[in-house]
């Protein structure tokens, strides 16, 4: 009897938790506020873990019932990660960007790129081609893994060879080396160019960190939602099969 009670409670909870997806699309209308619904969604979701575990009687195997339980756990844990992510990353992203938007930082980067292009008009051709290649081949973001790991696939062409320019290190090292052998007017220009490239590196770091954090902030939903629908199917299968062979 206890098993059926807990099972019914668990099933009702799952259906209600799934209904959030519908409710949030009606932001204004409907009973309660979406904010309240999300809060309840979190608390009831976590309590579902307890209800369903007791319902399982700690009896697991390779079957549709354990699949439903496993999917439910994945959904709940991805949701718990989501709560943590939403409480952590927006603030952290704001801090690393010093309250600017990512657009503003990109704009700063564009300014620097424009400045560099202007400054490069009056330096040696080899310096100009190296720096321009580094600007052209700077990469941020990318596929899922690139975004989540802040992988830097930037390149630079030096002496006709393509090198990795991770964190702009190769470019800056080359400029510093070039600077040590320069003198006079060229030295002044090179110093400015190097400083600009350093500023550019800092902006790129901020952009990559923001992309990584934003990715982490959102990525759980790509599991949470599809797994919820998988769970709904497994729940239907669980209930039908239990009563088929009652």
């Amino acid at each position: 009897m206890l098993g059926y009670t807990l099972g019914t409670l668990g099933a009702v909870l799952i259906l209600w938790l799934l209904y959030l997806g519908r409710r949030k699309r009606n932001f204004i209308h409907g009973w309660g506020t979406v904010r309240g619904w999300v809060s309840a969604h979190v608390y009831f979701g976590v309590s579902l873990l307890l209800v369903a575990t007791l319902h399982s009687g700690f009896q697991f195997g390779i079957n549709i019932h354990t699949l439903a339980y496993g999917l439910m756990c994945l959904v709940i844990f991805s949701g718990i990660f989501g709560v943590w992510a939403y409480r952590t990353f927006p603030e952290a992203r704001n801090d690393i960007k010093k309250s600017q938007s990512l657009d503003e930082i990109f704009s700063e980067l564009e300014e620097i790129d424009a400045n560099l292009e202007r400054m490069l008009g009056s330096v040696e051709e080899d310096i100009r081609s190296v720096v321009i290649s580094a600007i052209d081949r700077t990469v941020v973001g990318g596929n899922l893994i690139d975004q989540l790991t802040a992988r830097d696939n930037s390149r630079v062409i030096i002496d006709g060879h393509v090198h990795s320019n991770k964190d702009q290190t190769r470019l800056i090292n080359w400029l510093v080396k070039r600077l040590s052998g320069a003198g006079g007017q060229e030295s002044t220009y090179l110093t400015s160019v190097t400083q600009e490239c350093g500023a550019r590196r800092n902006l790129l770091r901020t952009i990559r960190t923001d992309i990584r954090m934003h990715g982490m902030q959102e990525v759980w939903l790509y599991f949470h939602v599809p797994l919820s629908f998988a769970l709904l199917a497994a729940l239907i299968a669980h209930i039908v099969s239990v009563f088929f062979y009652w």
């Binding site: 990512l102 657009d103 300014e111 202007r118 790509y222 629908f229 039908v240």
Partner: protein, 596 residues
């Protein structure tokens, strides 16, 4: 500082121009509408820089990490002269000579053409990856529904065994837990027990095999309402991967046994019970009592009842047999142990009966004549005994070996025969003389007298002085042929017939821990333990200090003395057969497993 700000913006082929004026200490540049020089575009920060006039010098200072360029030189803080060109976030500011009463004219060339933002070249957000979330959700939902329900359920229409043989998912996915080892022979055939879909497994499905399982009470008079559960499955949970199929929760029993009267069983003489340690009635012994009319009858008595005694009609002082230094036996001194007489059955549950032949006869030999110590009378029947005596002494008479009558009294030790002991032959010679010189009748009379004398002496010794009376209660009948009667003997087979006590499981304990035999002086002593003895080790169902013991630790639910649960089904099937209705089909796998 007084500024004239002239905005210029390309619109198609023409150009739009408008002006604004400023008078104050410092002019601000940025996207914000509160800025002195407001520059459009999402790349422009809300507050970018500040323009001040000090000692005739215009100074532009960027805020935060922002920068600008003055005549192509990047700067954060710079003096701006008339004629300079300043670029702020893509917009060009020309500082022109003063006009009218202004200190400076700033011509702002607004950059309206949107160049491709650097940001647009890269995928910087997950949503730009266009993960087909909705499609994945639908695919997962439909795939699990198909594998988990739809395909296995088609087996109901096309035949489960056909589905199981195919590579498609079948109802094995639905198996919540393994079968108990006693049911494992059923394999995957769920329909053995789950005969009708969406209907709980019925008792009939269990009783199909378990026909002989007994009821707990008399269902013909009390009905079949078990209160705590109506179905076999309420107490016997299958598919739990547990070693036991029996639900041992004592709450199932105490539903009724806490108060039988309230549950409609008020006529029962069973006392209320809720827990072995805290609330269990004292033990009652099942004692046998003899009555001439009814024979042996069992009575359940408390230890303190006056009638509570072992009335076996035997004499057996345990203390005499169990002295530590041992007792004299024909084989010498013998130290007795409990197990010499009390042996467990192979099952380890019950004890083998104690019998004269196996356990007593080694010492208690039924000899009757000191001159013939190898001859014994049979045990059991008085008439057989008397016949044996007559036969022996008749043979002795005919064999001419009439031995002297050795009178003994109970105080005397029977003299043993010693080799070379001279036999007294006077009486034999006298008899022979009589036989030679007299008639047959005289011999016959003399023989009968001889035999009857000897038989009477031997039997009196046996029954009243030395042998039978040592263990048995003897009554005089007054009958000439069978003057003695051995009172009927019965040993209690099971003192606690409602429990299942296993001696095997208690073999690490001393016998005397429960049975105080060495201080028992009489056979009437009941040497069974009381509930306190058990409670020294056994606690209630949830005790933490003792052995956890529930009802089923000692009691069976299905009682041997009740009708079989399957009887009704048998009757139904027989009736169906008589009516010509086809009965339930046989269960082939069970047959197969038997043949294996």
């Amino acid at each position: 500082m007084r500024l004239l700000i002239r905005y210029m913006e390309s619109r198609g082929a023409g150009k739009a121009t408008w002006e604004s004026r400023y008078e104050g200490d410092s002019a601000t540049i940025g996207r914000g509408t509160d800025q002195t020089i407001s520059l459009p575009g999402r790349r422009v920060p809300l507050e970018h820089s500040k323009l001040t006039l000090k000692a005739g010098q215009l100074r532009l200072a960027a805020m935060g990490d922002h920068r600008f360029s003055v005549n192509d030189a990047v700067s954060k803080n710079s003096v701006v002269a008339i004629g300079d060109e300043v670029i702020v976030a893509g917009h060009t500011l020309h500082f022109l000579p003063a006009e009218q009463d202004h200190d400076c004219v700033i011509e702002v060339e607004l950059e309206s053409g949107e160049v491709e933002s650097l940001r647009d070249r890269f995928k910087t957000r997950l949503w730009q990856l266009a993960v087909p979330e909705r499609s994945i959700s639908w695919i997962l939902f439909l795939a699990i529904l198909a594998i988990g329900v739809v395909i296995p359920a088609t087996g109901f229409f096309v035949g489960m065994s056909a589905l199981r043989e195919s590579p498609l998912p079948d109802d094995s996915l639905w198996l919540a837990g393994g079968l108990h080892q006693t049911h494992a022979f059923m394999g995957d055939e769920c329909s053995y027990c789950h005969t009708v879909p969406f209907v709980p497994a019925k008792d009939e499905d269990c009783l199909y095999c378990h026909l002989s399982v007994n009821h707990h009470f008399d269902t013909t008079t009390l009905g079949r309402d078990y209160k705590a559960g109506d179905r076999c499955a309420d107490c016997h949970h299958e598919h739990t991967d547990s070693e036991s199929l029996v639900l041992r929760d004592q709450g199932l029993c105490t539903t009724c046994h806490a108060d039988l009267g309230a549950m409609g069983f008020g006529f029962s003489d069973l006392e209320p019970v809720t827990d072995f340690y805290d609330d269990h009635p004292p033990f009652k012994y099942s004692v046998l009592a003899w009555s001439d009319d009814e024979g042996w009858e069992s009575k359940r008595l408390h230890p303190w009842d006056a009638e509570a005694a072992d009335r076996s009609n035997l004499r057996f002082p345990h203390d005499v047999h169990m002295v530590a230094q041992g007792i004299e036996s024909p084989q010498g001194t013998r130290v007795m142990a409990c197990k010499n007489c009390h042996e467990t059955e192979v099952s380890g549950v019950t004890m083998r009966p104690v019998t004269m032949e196996r356990h007593c006869a080694d010492c208690h030999q039924l000899t009757f004549d000191a001159s013939a110590p190898d001859r014994v009378v049979p045990h059991g029947s008085v008439s057989d005994l008397m016949r044996t005596l007559r036969e022996y002494y008749a043979w002795q008479f005919l064999d001419g070996q009439a031995a002297p009558v050795i009178e003994t009294t109970p105080d005397q030790i029977r003299p043993a025969r010693r080799p070379g002991d001279a036999r007294r032959k006077e009486s034999i010679e006298a008899l022979l003389a009589r036989r030679v010189g007299g008639a047959d009748a005289a011999i016959s009379r003399a023989g009968r007298e001889f035999i009857e004398d000897r038989v009477a002496i031997a039997a009196t010794n046996l029954f009243e002085r030395q042998t039978c009376v040592v263990c048995h209660s003897i009554a005089l009948t007054g009958d000439v042929d069978l003057p003695w009667q051995v009172l009927p003997v019965a040993l209690v087979d099971d003192w606690f017939p409602l429990t299942k006590f296993s001696h095997e499981r208690h073999k690490n304990m001393r016998c005397e821990g429960c049975h105080e035999a060495s201080s028992s002086t009489a056979a009437t002593d009941i040497l069974m333990p009381d509930i306190g003895t058990c409670r020294a080790c056994h606690g209630g169902e949830r005790t933490r200090a003792l052995l956890q013991s529930d009802c089923t630790t000692c009691h069976n639910f299905h009682l041997d003395n009740q009708a079989a649960m399957g009887e009704l089904i048998l009757i139904e099937e027989l009736e169906a057969e008589r009516r010509g209705v086809e009965g339930r089909p046989p269960k082939p796998v069970a047959e197969e497993s038997r043949s294996q």
